[in-house]
Subunit: 129 residues, 2 copies
DNA sequence: CTAAAACCTCGAGCGCGGTTCAGGTCAAGC
DNA sequence: GCTTGACCTGAACCGCGCTCGAGGTTTTAG
């Protein structure tokens, strides 16, 4: 038997993911979900554990600055099933490279900022307030 | 004698910094420059070496996602001279902490993405195309 | 039964960070 | 001296990623 786990309301998912309910609805409209969110005998959304797991993962993609359009591409590929596996892998690998570059660039800039900070701290030491 | 070094035109600065001429003008209008760019016997901008050095540094601030409004704050402080040194240091240090957090969060998310990639690669290995 | 809280849709609005356009002025090469 | 390309200003416009508001329905607590 597959673990049933009672579905979550949109505000529960918001609490769990750190997104707002507005953002969750927006993401759905934007086609980022793997499947339309189930509505149980009402107009209210009921998120399954799988829905939530996907939202958590897509949030990680977003937090590494993957544009929403790319997340949608990924979701569309995923919806196409197994035949798209290679394409999905490639999308992630491409993104991995982009992120690595960003991290490196940020690290370099941070070094320059740290150097500037060290200059301030240095002259602070030499001529304290 | 202070190194005079012939001033640079806006497009030369653009080439040197990787910004566009439009962005350079936009930054100036937005109050990000330490001083208004000098105009030599014409309406054309003439960037000094100091101007360019500052633009390079502010670009590093921007590339670590410091909002333009904060860069302006920093520039305003710098214009106030020595009395603002402590405030400038604090601004940079605050930002430093923010960036460190961002880097850590990106790194964590990247790990999740790498894990996903490894899953794809793994099942690729088990059931190759 | 009722009132309040949570949910719904649709569409407009917003903040950020530039970018583009119109309509000129200026300067360097021929 | 004239053309051509770089430069100027001011203002409108854009893409992204949400966010908010209006107006209405549904669930839940008392």
């Amino acid at each position: 038997m597959p673990t049933p786990t009672t579905p979550l309301s949109i505000s529960e998912v918001a609490d769990h993911t750190g997104l707002t309910v507005a953002t969750l609805r927006y993401y759905e409209r934007a086609g980022l979900m793997l499947a339309p969110i189930h509505r149980g005998s009402s107009t209210h959304r009921e998120y399954s554990a799988e829905d939530v797991a996907w939202i958590v993962f897509l949030t990680k993609l977003r937090s590494t600055a993957l544009p929403i359009a790319r997340v949608r591409d990924y979701a569309e590929l995923a919806r196409q099933g197994d035949s798209s596996r290679a394409d999905r892998l490639e999308l992630l690998q491409r993104h991995r490279i982009t992120v690595a570059g960003q991290l490196e660039s940020m690290r370099t800039s941070l070094d320059a900022i740290d150097y500037k900070i060290s200059l301030y701290s240095e002259s602070e030491r030499l001529s304290p307030a």
